[in-house]
Amino acid sequence: MTATVTATAGRPARPPEMNVFLGLLGIALVFEVLGWIFIGQSFVFNLQRLQIIILQVSIVGIIAVGVTQVIITGGIDLSSGSVVGATAMIAMSFAQVSDNARAVYPALTDLPVIVPIAVALLCGLLAGAANGALIAYTKIPPFIATLGMMVAARGISKWYTKGQPVSFPTDSYAAIGAGLNPVLLFIVIAVLFHLALNYTLYGKHTYAIGSNAEAARISGIKVERHLVMVYAIAGMLAGTAALILSSKNLTAQAGMGVMYELDAIAMAVIGGVSLAGGRGSILGTALGMLIFGVIISGFTFLRIDAYYQEMIKGVIIVVAVVADVARQKRRARMV
């Protein structure tokens, strides 16, 4: 007994990201084989397809980077999709061109692009900070606090223009999400927060709070303040996603970002971020995001109905959580 424990403690465990990566390869391989059998062409060795795979998930991926940090603290954020909707509407209303007869603020058109960018980041930040403050200071469960924000923010996005879409952005605004920019922005954000989580005080305290909030408190970490910061950052990343999405689509609509929060949570969970808190990484989430992208593209590639996509996505999410729970049980037995 003792001998096994010591042996385990001495050997560095295989990083969970490795399993996610193998999962990604496995799924890609399945599509590759099916592709040659049914379509007669390669799935993976197609640069255009690879670009599309990454492009269509990178916006939700930016949200998932924020959600990953929230989940590591032991929390959850259900509001990000709605925050995307509300932020897109509000930011876009400050980015409209003057020759648009139906601008939301006819007096405030042709503004420099920095204005809608600042507005978007601020909206996301405020929504996230409100989430964090509710959770940290009223001690209500994160699920409830962010559920409230989810409903309220969706309300704001519908109320803002009474349901009318906001369109016709300036050229500079339209440039934000053009081409492969969403992918580049995702990579920059992911690298930034990978560094923050691994090499800074912020990351250390984020993991500590999710691992044992009481120990963190006794050790002098300002748990409440830190939680507000983590949720605010997650909100700001949702705001960033809204910016990119509305720019890419050249319009903002009240229904934008519906279900994004669940996709983002699913990417994190598939990537090995533990819902119990304390464990997970941006690298894992990025791999989880790619699994998502491969599945969506794979089904389209095989010309299978979108209905099946959702079913399979659901199954994969549940499998990922079951694997996480099994991992925790194994650990509990060992100690």
Partner: protein, 254 residues
């Protein structure tokens, strides 16, 4: 300078109508190791929680290092030099050994406010040194604490207290959940603290251990200190009769 490091006068804690701690008068000298013993619910842990300010006392005074103190919380107590090893280990299971040792007091390489860059190497080196001084052997420092045995985890918790305690260490049943070998390791750490002259308050149910390790034994019973005896002037039976109430009656000065 007085040789008394910690003194409590009339320390009292009530939870509603429950008198968990009544009029505790206690002194600890520099370099002294004291055991606090007593039955479950006798007030031992309550006593410690008042000193470390995990809870706020109902009445009484605490003097630490020659001054009356009123810590607002455990952090303040820690900053003034009192390190506590809590009964439920205050460790973050998913972090490695250096991160746990330096939790809340990380060494910074480059100050950027909340995003300050950690000096991981310095913390690792210092951790190895702290473990060496306390004679704790951990095979792989960068493994999460979760993957370690109860004894190793407890040793990390104690090494952490020992590494930073400038003036006083309090241990609340440090060996309660440990095997024989692991208990021996923890006891060796305590002997090392004695040799270094670091004062200690040890809460323990294990009388054999108490007689092995400390200079003085303080007995709690029903929220009161009923005896304070030098190790040489007492024995196991004597202590047990104080714990069970055969001896001691109403109270004594510690």
């Amino acid at each position: 300078m007085s040789d008394i490091i910690l003194e409590t006068r009339g320390l009292t804690k009530r939870y509603g109508g429950v008198h968990a701690l009544e009029d505790a008068n206690f002194t600890l000298r520099r370099g002294e190791h004291i055991a606090v013993v007593g039955d479950n619910g006798a007030g031992k842990s309550t006593f410690v929680r008042q000193i470390t300010a995990v809870e706020q006392r109902t009445a009484g005074e605490v003097f630490f290092d020659g001054q009356a103190v009123n810590f607002a919380g455990p952090l303040e107590a820690r900053e003034s030099g009192i390190e506590t090893v809590f009964q439920n280990l205050a460790l973050a299971d998913d972090l490695d050994v250096p991160s746990n040792l330096y939790l809340g007091r990380e060494i910074i390489k480059f100050n950027l406010g909340p995003f300050s860059i950690l000096d991981r190497k310095a913390m690792r080196v210092a951790t190895q040194k702290a473990l060496d001084t306390t004679a704790v052997r951990i095979p792989n420092l960068s493994n999460p604490i979760r993957n370690m045995s109860g004894g190793q985890r407890q040793c990390v918790a104690i090494a952490r207290a020992a590494a930073f305690a400038s003036k006083l260490i309090i241990m609340d049943e440090p060996t309660a959940a440990l095997g024989v070998q692991e208990t021996g390791q923890v006891e060796n750490i305590i002997r090392g603290l004695k040799a270094r002259g670091v004062p200690l308050i040890l809460i323990s149910h294990n009388l054999r251990q108490v007689f092995d390790l400390v200079d003085r034994i303080v007995v709690f019973r029903r929220g009161r200190i009923v005896a304070s005896l030098r190790r040489e002037e007492t024995d196991g039976n004597d202590i047990v009769s104080y714990i069970t109430g055969v001896k001691g009656g109403e109270g004594a000065r510690a």
